[in-house]
Every structure is written in C-alpha cells, then in structure tokens.
C-alpha cells in the first residue's frame, strides 16, 4: 500500500486525502473518496500539497546567529541556548506566537510552555483576527465558540447566505457545497461588494457598497420584525436580550438603507422573507485574516437568532476557517485571552485548575498579543518565539529587529527567519502524528507518513525539550499522550482518544462522556442563546470629493494567506505568477465606467492615493466591481503591503474594512 489516509493541511475545511508514499518520501496525493467533508474533492492547493512537502527549501539544521550570520549548530546546543535565553527575561517581556497550521498537540504544549514554564500569557496565533471576533460573539451569545452548523448541514439547508468572502477561493470545497446546494434548489444568496465566483453561482447577488454589510443584515432583521416573520421562540424564553436588539434596530431608518448600502430595498426585503421562510438556513463567512469585523458578525448572529435559525438542527453560522487549525488552536488556548477550552486567562479558579494540572503557578495577569506588544510604546517586548510563521509579523520589521531575541521554529525556510537569532527545524505535518480541528469542529487525526530528517523534531517534542532544558520534565512519549492530557484539560475534548479517532473520519466536539461519538448538531444543545450587543448607530463609509473610491482588499485561489508556503509549490506558484506576470506592479480592480472617466486602461499604471499614503499599481478593468469601488488583492504582497500597512485597519478589520482613495492616471 502506498496510498495512506490523511488530512489536508491547507485551509480549515479539513478535506481527507490519500498521500502517496514511497522510498520514505512523499510522492503525491489523491482525494479521499468517502471523507465526509471532502467527499472525493480537493482544491488546487490540496492537489499539490506534495509539492510543498517535497520542497528543497526546508530548514533541516538548527542554526544560531554568530557574528551576524546564522550558522549550523547541534540541535541540543540550540535548544539549550533558546531555553536559557528565553528564561533570562521577565515573563512580561517574552511572547510566543503559535502557528495555525500546527496540530492541537503542538499548540496545546506551546501554550503550556509559555504559561507553565516561562510564566507568561503572551501567546497568540497568526492570521486569526476574524476568528477572535467570531469566538467573541458566539461566547457572548451563550452558544459554542465555534460553528453551530456542520458541512453536512449545507447539504440540507434551504437557504444559504454567503457573506463577503469568495469562498470558492478561500475554502473551495465549502464553496463547492454552496454551489451544489444551489444546484439542488436551495436559495443561495451572496452579499458582497465584489462580483466573486460564488456571487456568479448564487441565485441572488446583493452587491452592496463596501463597508455596509452590517446595515444590510440589520435591515433584514428589521424586515422580519416589521412583517411579523420573527421566530416566536427567539423573542421569548429561549433567548436573552431581544429587547435590547430591537431597540438598537430602532436606530435604523429603512428609508436610508438603499442610500447607505447601494442596494434595492425590495431585494433586501425579499431576501429576509426567504430566510424566514426556510426550514433550515446557514450563513457562511470567512474567519481568519480576511474575516469580518465584530459588529458584522454580531449582526449576522442576531439576524439568524431572530429568524429562528440559530440553536436549531441544521442551521446557524458557519465561520469558515481559512487555515487548517485556526479553530483547534483557539480550542487549545493559543491566545492571550483564554486557557485551553475557552477558560478566561485571568480567572483565579481557572488558574488554580490549570496550575494543578500543569504543576505550576500560573501568571494571573492576562497576556497581550504579539501585535500589541510589537507596536506598544514604549516597547516592552524583549524576546519572541515564533512557530512556523509566514508573513504577518514582517509588517513590523523595525520592532522585530530591535528585539533582543527572536527564536524561529519551523519546517520551511522563509523571509521571517532573517530576524531570528536561533532557528530550530520542525517536522512537517506529514512527519508527525497530530490532530487538527476543522471549521465544523471536526477533530481529525493525521498520522505520520514519512520520517523527518535526523535533527528534525515534531513541534510538540521541541516544546517538551525546551521545558526539559528549564528543568521541567513532561511525561509524553507520543502525541497520543498529549491528547490524553488535552482530554483532561478541555471538557469538549474529554472523550477524544487516538483509538476513537482512528475508527473513522474524526469526531466533532463537544465530544464527552455524554456524547462519546461527538456532536454534529450542537444547535440542538439545550440552553438559552443571547442576542449580541450591537450599536444603534448605522453609518457606512462614504466616498468624498477628494477620495471618491472605496478601496477593499481580499485573497485569491493560488495565492493564499501564507503565500510564502504557496511559493514553494510548482503549479499553484505558476498560477499565481500567471496573474503576477500580467500585473508585475500589482493591480487595483476598477469598473470600466470609472476607468473611462479617469482615462485609465487595463494593465497601465495608476496611482492610488489615500489620506495617509499612495501606491503605484496597474489598473485591472473589470466587470466584477461597481463604479465607485476599487479592489486590491493583497496577495501581491511585495508591491502592495507597504501601502496596506499604513492602513492597518484594512488588514485588522477584515473584509468590511474600507479605505477611501482617489485613483489617478499616471
């Protein structure tokens, strides 16, 4: 047998694959036909994961910076040095950044290393801004801090709302489910400013003005109230906070909706009625670097709760995680806010429980994100350990260069390593056992396929070794032992074992004594859900005379979040290059009407000017954006990142963030 079952390691969909292995090396990959999520499908990234796994751009030796250059050293020496130097700083001056592509075991132990060995809550995750907002809203509402709908629910739903994201690019196989739902007759509505592929495949595309999605959702909620389409249970004893939400909606003048959103109000009304009239409904949006802001997610949650489509089997929000283990990393507490299992980091009882479990005295002081620490003034951060990181932090090169210590732990060589004083090689996901939790809470076991090189350890073993260097001996022999401790630490994972995982295609948490086989439909769980607090003011970014365009940013198929790793493949890299070669300076997408007005032509340079910066890129004249709207794919990072960095909000706030600009012909 050369084909071994496994889980794709790119996006959070978590499709199953069969990895072809021979002569101790990865040789190829094929879709797993019976996997419950992928069901025999993979996307362009998934079909080429073997190209990444066989790249020669690997980190294979431990390296330490001496006289300005990184030099190979024995692994043990680098581990000892990293542990000693990290311990030399006060806990507040040390931070850890986990990888959203790492396994649950890796990230659980990195959190334990940060908190129980180095005494700090300064641990966070890359590329997860949207997930934080999603988790926040869902925790606030009293439900699970994760998707209430499963992928299988998309196959039953009568109404599906795709918010913003071009899901055919971010999570293509989820996008496939949406398309297939529409083909079997479900009502698929896309609400997005750009005419994306999923918009083209939708029966209805509500092409709103960028930044106004929250208002469209609020208007739909108000239609439900006005027309008596509200689910009775939602306003009664099953929920909390209805009155507050209704009061907030009073602030929305329906007469202004069309003006604020650019949509025909009747289309919005009709969509709201379709939502209310459906038996089961799911809303899908991105949860990751291109996710939505808190207010928009809160409004979507409230709308679904009002329509009786939350807390019901087969219905709810499905936050599509953009990277394979964003969801699991949050479950494992790779965030300054929560210990494993969404226990508040500053909570005394929690600190006590985890202190006992970890035999350590935990720091009661909540941590801060690496982003906050790097940008704080005066700077307090001295030492940073980063796991398998690809791009985001490079936005702060001066702050990184000023740190006393940067430790980089990863499998692939990348531009971030140039900031490192110590580099430790880590195994790829194909070289270690580990579990990954997908966008629908499905915990899946991926078995080791090939042996790592002689100096290369799985990340969880590296964290164990660093703890040992500090005199803290952890007892884990295998990653299965780590899962046993996770089961003890996280109630929703308490019945998860490798033995059980191996019997099928994973377990959807909550998976505990009462639900040992997991829970595909948490919407049926008993309990009251709350309406999330939302502001009662409804404004949207508006163009001005000086800056008549609303500029947004987004991702694409072959140039994906962690573009550094996609560049190590052959075919996806070539596909990215196909676009880049046409627009070597980057591009801004504008409508033909606008192009004619400013005299811009396709592939010819224009200048994009905002209140705080400008960039020179090529115009891409397109029918996919409306007049007055401009779009930049931030995947052409090398050319555009500088401009976007000056507008931090555009990256932090996700898809609904807007920068008013003017575009001039050059």
């Amino acid at each position: 047998m050369i084909y071994k079952t496994g889980i794709c390691n790119f996006c959070g969909t978590g499709c199953g694959h069969l990895m072809k292995v021979g002569d101790g090396a990865v040789k190829g990959v094929f879709a797993s036909p019976d996997h419950p999520v992928g069901a025999g499908r993979l996307c362009v990234r998934g079909w080429h994961i073997h190209e990444l796994l066989t790249t020669s751009e690997r980190i294979t030796r431990a390296r330490v910076r001496k006289d300005g250059a990184l030099r190979d050293v024995p692994l043990d020496e680098a581990l000892a040095l990293a542990a000693d130097r990290l311990a030399a700083f006060p806990p507040e001056a040390v931070a850890f950044r986990a990888s959203p592509r790492a396994s649950n075991e890796d990230n659980y132990l990195l959190g334990k290393l940060a908190r129980a060995v180095f005494g700090t809550n300064n641990i966070d995750l890359a590329s997860d801004a949207g997930q934080g907002h999603t988790v926040g809203v869902l925790l606030e509402s009293g439900g699970l801090p994760a998707a209430l709908a499963s992928v299988a629910d998309l196959r039953e739903a009568g109404f599906i709302l795709a918010l913003g994201i071009d899901i055919t690019r971010q999570n293509p196989i989820l996008g496939s489910e949406l398309h297939k739902a529409a083909r079997r007759g479900a009502r698929l509505v896309t609400l997005s400013g750009r005419r994306t592929q999923i918009a083209k495949l939708s029966g209805t595309h509500l092409q709103n003005r960028p930044g106004s999605m929250r208002i469209v959702l609020a208007a739909m909620a108000k239609v439900l109230l006005e027309e008596g389409l509200v689910d009775r249970a939602s306003t009664g004893e099953r929920t909390v906070g209805f009155d507050g939400f209704a009061r907030a909606l009073d602030g929305l003048d329906m007469g202004r909706v069309a003006g604020l959103t650019g949509l025909d109000l009747e289309a919005v009304r009709e969509t709201a009625r379709a939502l209310a009239g459906s038996e089961a409904a799911v809303a899908v949006f991105a949860s990751g670097i291109s996710g939505l802001d808190r207010e928009t997610i809160a409004m979507a949650h409230n709308l679904f709760l009002l329509a009786g489509k939350a807390g019901r089997k087969g219905s709810g929000l499905l936050a599509a995680t953009g990277i394979c283990n964003i969801a699991g990393s949050w479950d494992m507490g790779a965030t300054p806010r929560f210990l494993p299992g969404y226990v508040k980091a500053g909570d005394a009882a929690a600190a006590d429980r985890f202190g006992k479990l970890w035999s350590a005295r935990l720091n009661g002081k909540p941590g801060r994100t690496v982003e906050e620490l790097l940008t704080s003034s005066p700077p307090t951060l001295k030492a940073l350990l980063v796991a398998e990181h690809d791009e985001g932090l490079v936005r702060h090169p001066e702050a990184l260069a000023a740190l006393d210590l940067v430790v980089y732990v990863g499998a692939y060589d990348n531009p971030f390593a140039r900031f490192a004083h110590i580099v430790l090689p880590a195994a790829t996901y194909a070289e270690a056992d580990g579990t990954y939790t997908n966008t629908e809470r499905r915990i899946q076991l991926n078995r080791k396929k090939v042996e790592p090189g002689p100096d290369i350890l799985p990340a969880w073993r590296i964290w164990t070794a660093l703890a040992a260097k500090r005199g803290v001996i952890w007892p884990y022999k295998t990653s299965s032992d780590v899962m046993k401790e996770i089961a003890a630490a996280v109630p929703a994972y308490s019945a998860v074992t490798y033995e059980e995982l191996e019997k099928g295609f994973g377990l959807q948490w909550p998976c505990d004594e009462r639900r040992p086989k997991g829970c595909p439909h948490p919407g049926e769980l008993p309990g009251r859900l709350s309406f999330a607090a939302v502001p009662d003011r409804f404004t949207a970014p508006a163009p001005t005379g000086d800056h008549p365009f609303l500029l947004t940013a987004g991702t694409d198929n072959t140039f994906w979040h962690t573009n550094v790793i996609m560049k190590k493949t052959h075919i996806p890299r070539r596909e990215y290059n196909a676009l880049l070669l046409l627009y070597p300076q980057g591009l801004v997408e504008i409508s033909a009407e606008d192009a004619a007005r400013i005299g811009a032509r396709d592939k010819r340079p224009v200048r994009v000017v905002s209140a705080s910066g400008s960039m020179r890129v090529a115009a891409k004249v397109s029918t996919d954006v409306r007049p007055g709207t401009a779009y930049v794919p931030y995947f052409i990072g090398d050319m555009i990142t500088g401009f976007l960095d000056a507008h931090g909000s555009l990256l932090e706030g996700g898809e609904e963030s807007v920068v008013p600009v003017r575009i001039e012909k050059v």
């Binding site: 879709a31 499908r41 362009v44 052959h570």
Partner: protein
C-alpha cells in the same frame, strides 16, 4: 479461452508477483475506500469491488516523477546529465475496460505520434495487464456511451470474466499465453466460452437500472464540438462553475497533460520532475511574452471537452478521449463533469427557438 476457478485467482496474482511489482484494486480496511494501489500481499486484490477512485494511469504516468538529474561543477566546468533509474516491471491486475482504454489513449499520445516519450515507454513496455470484465455496471458508469466497455477488446495480456465461481480467461498476448500455460489452466469448453459474450450482454442490459448517475449521449456533442457550433454562453455557464482545481484531469484515465519543473537541490545538483498538469489552469496555456490564447476560464474549459470529444482529437486516440468512467463527475467541486457538459451542449443544440 481458459478457466480459472475463483479460488485460484491467488495462484495467478502470486505468479505475477514473482516477476512484477503487483498493482490492483484494494479496499481500505477502515474507510472502505477502493483505490488502485501497489500491494505487498497478492490476496489483497479484490476483483469484485467497485472501480477504484484513482485511475491506474498513475502507475505508468505518475503524479510527480523525477525523470532526470543534472549537475554542474563550477571548478572543473564539468556538466553531467543522468537519467533516473529505470522503472521496475509492473503487473496491473483487475483493470476495468474504461481504464484500459484510458491507458491505450495514453499510449497513442505518448508513443504513437512523431516523438516517443521514453520515460513513459520505459514504464509501459515491461508491463503485464489483466483486465476484468464488468459483469454489472456501477452507478457512475457510462462506458456504453463512449464505446469503452463493459468488456475489454484489446490491450490486455489476460482478460478475466466472472461467470460465477470461476473466471473465463481470454489471452491477449504471447506473455499471457505463457502464463496460462505455466499455471496449467484448463481450456474452456465452447459452451462456457460463449458465456463471455452473454455476460457482456447482460451487463449492458443492467445499465438502465443500475448506472443511474450519469448519461452522456456523446454523438451530438462530438458533432457540435468538432464543428464549433456551441454558443459562447454555454461555455460561460460551464466556466462559471470551474473551480480551477485541475482534478478532472488528474482523475481522468486518458488525460496526459504534464508540466516539467527543474529544481535546484544544492551543491550544483538539480533534478527535473515531470508532474500532472491540467488545461484548466491559466498558467498552463500562458506563453512566453505573456500571450495567453486561453486566458478566460471558459476558454480553458472548452479546451478540455474539445480534447475529450472532438473528432480531430479522437483521430489521434483512435477513439473518443472520454472513456466513460464517471470519475470527473464525483471529483468536480463545480458541477461540470463530462456528462453534464454533454447534456448542456445537447440541450443547447436541440433548442428550437430562443425563449421569449
């Protein structure tokens, strides 16, 4: 024709395993998934299970294959080029006729034209093929629409037909005859030999009831694709549904597109890899100087169906490029497996007047 008792299948596969790396359809212990794979234990091969999800073409035309190494030594200015080690002989057991026809298409593309692909030839010439008649169709099958089943006509060394309790063994080559002699198989009496044709007939009769997932009445589509009388809107409708994953090409038993990539391995050494490619990719058709004759996704999509069904392309394969296995339907994130495209083209071609 000869007779092989079912219980003796193991003797056949065992004999092959002595001389060849043995490949065949196997069922995964836990998931139940059927894949075509290299087997250590000949008894793992099961001829009753459904068509494997991966096409056997990967054995002769791997997803990614090192085909050459080269090096350059700066000091001595010496350059060296070395071909990769030659492929071991392989036996493919249990090939369904669709997959065998796919292999024959690959032969005609790789070997039957002006240039012979030596890497492919190396895999192919040392091969033993045992085909397996489909005595009943599977839900996704439409080989009867593409003239590629349910039984093999050519290209096998041995062909097995299940007649209940035993296989009829048809020999297709001297190698096959030699193996039959070596195993000492009994000759089939005429009455039994006639059962192969009956089994095929019975299988075809079952298509209406059992092969329900797909139908592809390709002749009208062949006509339209060859003459080009397909409105652009039909291609746009198809192109909008393309997720550009490449999967249809990867699972297709007859798709032969590949990419060549050279990668440095350090110390002056590099390797050349050949890998599956797909005409659905924008970068596939892009030419030097940035011209791309098939830039738009719908133009790339129509290339695929032109390749599978046009008459001019069929002349190269000596048959339609589609072999009716149904894999592209299941693997497609859109809904544009070949049967659906054929339906879209036929629907368009039978439209009498435009809708008001």
């Amino acid at each position: 024709m000869h007779i092989l008792p079912k219980a003796d299948l193991r003797r056949l596969t065992g004999a092959l395993a002595e001389r060849y790396a043995l490949y065949g359809p196997v069922c995964h212990e836990v998931s139940g998934e059927v894949i075509f794979d290299l087997v250590d234990d000949p008894s793992r091969i099961d001829l009753d299970i459904p068509i494997p999800y991966n096409p056997p073409k990967g054995v002769v035309f791997p997803q990614a294959e090192r085909i050459m190494s080269f090096s350059y030594d700066r000091a001595s200015k010496a350059a060296a080029i070395e071909p990769e080690a030659l492929a071991a002989p392989k036996a493919l057991v249990g090939l369904r006729s669709c997959d065998l026809n796919g292999l024959l298409c690959l032969d005609r593309f790789m070997l039957g034209q002006e240039y012979v692909d030596e890497v492919f030839l190396e895999h192919r010439k040392k091969m033993f093929i045992v085909s397996n008649t489909c005595v009943h169709p599977f839900p996704q099958c439409f080989c009867v629409c593409t003239d590629s089943g349910p039984a093999a006509v050519e290209g096998f060394d041995l062909d097995l037909t299940d007649i209940g309790g035993e296989y009829l063994v048809l020999t297709g080559s001297a190698k096959g005859e030699e193996l039959v002699r070596g195993l000492g198989l009994a000759a089939a009496p005429a009455a039994k030999a006639a059962l192969r044709a009956k089994a095929v007939e019975a299988s075809v009769a079952l298509f209406d009831a059992q092969a329900k997932d797909n139908k592809a009445w390709i002749s009208r589509a062949v006509n339209r694709l060859t003459t080009g009388f397909i409105p652009h809107e039909v291609w746009e409708y198809i192109g909008d549904q393309c997720f550009e994953c490449g999967a249809c090409a990867f699972v297709c038993p007859s798709c032969s597109c590949f990419n060549i990539e050279d990668a440095a391995e350090g110390e002056g050494r590099s390797c050349r890899t050949r890998a599956w490619d797909s005409c659905s990719f924008e970068g596939y058709a892009r030419m030097a100087g940035d011209h791309n004759p098939r830039k738009a996704v719908e133009d790339r999509r129509n290339k695929r169906f032109f390749c599978k069904l046009s008459f001019s392309q069929s002349r190269k394969y000596l048959r339609p490029g589609c072999v009716g296995c149904g894999r592209c339907v299941r693997v497609c994130p859109g809904d544009i497996g070949l049967p659906n495209v054929v339906t879209a083209i036929r629907r368009e071609s039978t439209k009498q007047v435009p809708h008001e």
